[in-house]
């Protein structure tokens, strides 16, 4: 007897799916915002060799980029309580995503800042702009635009990686999938549909990020 696919079995769990989608998006949104902020600060420290932060960020970037996200998550969720830091699954997921994306953004934005044309800075200095003004108004916007496609890709990777947060009990989309398949015993259909949802989300997030990049960052430029 061949297997009968039954996708209607998922329809009964619409609400759980939608709540999962919402939570995945919230995770991605918070992770992206804070991760980007961390990345801008780290990128600045590394590009301009601001001591002692640049040493810290070098170690941080290498440490995070050379270990799997799953281990970072487990370390934060299971390991940190021994130091007295007890986090809920949700908090641990957000922290892990921020730390992970922050490391990649630091490296990406550093490259963007270092690619800034020297003449731009000299021109800004000649206009008597302060160091902070130069950074915010002259260096950062073009640097971000230059590396924006890499940042978008990294955000997508982190969003897809958030599926691992289900392993510490965060109720996001993959958690919803696991829950549904444990109820209706339709593992293949459930995972197939949820993978499709992730695919659509990835496309949407990319469009949104590109829109934000060109509308806000490029629009603010000069």
């Amino acid at each position: 007897m061949t297997y009968q696919f039954d996708y209607s079995a998922i329809g009964d769990y619409k609400e759980i799916l939608f709540s999962g989608i919402a939570k995945t998006m919230v995770l991605t949104f918070i992770g992206t915002t804070l991760g980007l902020a961390l990345g801008i600060f780290g990128g600045l420290c590394r590009a301009w060799s601001i001591r002692p932060f640049n040493y810290f960020f070098t170690v941080y970037v290498e440490g995070i980029r050379n270990t799997p996200f799953l281990i970072q998550l487990f370390f934060i969720f299971f390991g940190l309580p021994s130091l007295g830091v007890v986090l809920t699954g949700w908090q641990a997921s957000i922290l892990a995503m921020v730390i992970n994306l922050g490391a990649y953004c630091t490296e990406i934005i550093r490259a963007g800042i270092q690619a800034t044309n020297k003449g731009q800075i000299e021109a800004a200095v000649s206009l008597a702009m302060t160091r902070m003004q130069i950074f915010w108004r002259v260096i950062l916007p073009p640097a971000l635009i230059k590396v924006w496609p890499s940042i978008c890709s990294q955000v997508i990777i982190v969003m897809l990686g958030s599926s691992l947060c289900s392993q510490i009990g965060t109720e996001e989309l993959t958690y919803a999938a696991n829950f549904i398949q444990s109820r209706n015993f339709r593992a293949f259909e459930t995972y197939f549909v949820v993978a499709g949802i992730y695919f659509v989300l990835a496309l949407l997030v990319r469009q949104l990020m590109m829109y934000i990049g060109y509308k806000w960052i490029a629009g603010r430029k000069l």
């Binding site: 297997y3 290498e62 440490g63 980029r65 050379n66 270990t67 799997p68 996200f69 799953l70 281990i71 970072q72 487990f74 370390f75 299971f78 390991g79 940190l80 309580p81 021994s82 130091l83 997508i156 897809l160 990686g161 599926s163 691992l164 289900s166 392993q167 993959t174 999938a177 593992a187 293949f188 995972y191 197939f192 949820v194 993978a195 499709g196 992730y198 695919f199 990835a202 496309l203």
Partner: protein, 215 residues
């Protein structure tokens, strides 16, 4: 339960590390072979083949590896083939790796300048000869740094296979953490294990890139 010493932990984790290395190697080599096939489809003249490969690559890059593994693990079960976790892990990682490598290599082939195509065409080389003698040798050189860089991603991706029950470094770590109640130490050591594997690859890739940039 208190009889698990640090030495036992390290020995067990080393076994896990060996499985991680093995899986990474197999996934990388097989992914490379499949990826090369995909690359030729992706840059072929047949638009049907080209678009089909494009969809394949986008699907594997646009969905979480965890769900790919779940689908393979449960999907093959539906076909009546019970496959063990290691087989599902190998298959899943091979497909995942192939999609990324094909895309990286396509970028390398396309970065060979147009003039090379035109010059070789003016020498009356056909498409195959252009590929074989002009384009691919140059693309191959360009592709080495990003390919080494991607191998780091493959090593890190093997951690996800622990979730479908393949006993590698992460799974060994989780089991030990449950048995010893020392998650801080164990996951710290596990992270160190991955770092030892990945860091030299990262440095090597960066060095290659720099050497390429100078030449």
């Amino acid at each position: 339960m208190n009889d698990i010493f640090l030495s036992d932990i390290v020995i067990n984790l080393s076994y896990g590390l060996l499985w991680t290395i093995g899986l990474s190697l197999v996934a990388f080599v097989m992914g490379g072979i499949v990826g090369l096939t995909l690359l030729f489809c992706r840059i072929s003249k047949n638009s049907y083949l080209r678009n089909l490969t494009k969809v394949y690559i986008e699907v594997f890059q646009g969905t979480p590896l965890l769900l790919q593994l779940f689908i393979i693990f449960f999907g093959t079960g539906l076909l009546g083939i019970e496959i063990p976790p290691w087989a599902a892990a190998t298959l899943g990682l091979t497909l995942f790796t192939s999609a990324f490598l094909a895309e990286i290599w396509r970028g390398c082939v396309e970065s060979v300048s147009k003039g090379q195509w035109e010059a070789s065409a003016s020498l009356a080389l056909n498409h195959y000869e252009q590929m074989r003698h002009i384009i691919l040798p140059q693309a191959f050189r360009i592709s080495i740094p990003p390919t080494v860089g991607f191998s780091v991603q493959v090593v890190k991706a093997t951690a996800v296979t622990s979730i479908i029950g393949f006993v590698e470094l992460t799974k060994t770590g989780s089991m030990l953490a449950n048995a010893t109640f020392k998650p801080f130490l164990i996951f710290g050591l596990v992270a160190l294990g991955y770092f030892i594997l990945c860091f030299p690859l990262s440095v090597f890739s960066r060095r290659l890139e720099k050497a390429m940039y100078i030449s």
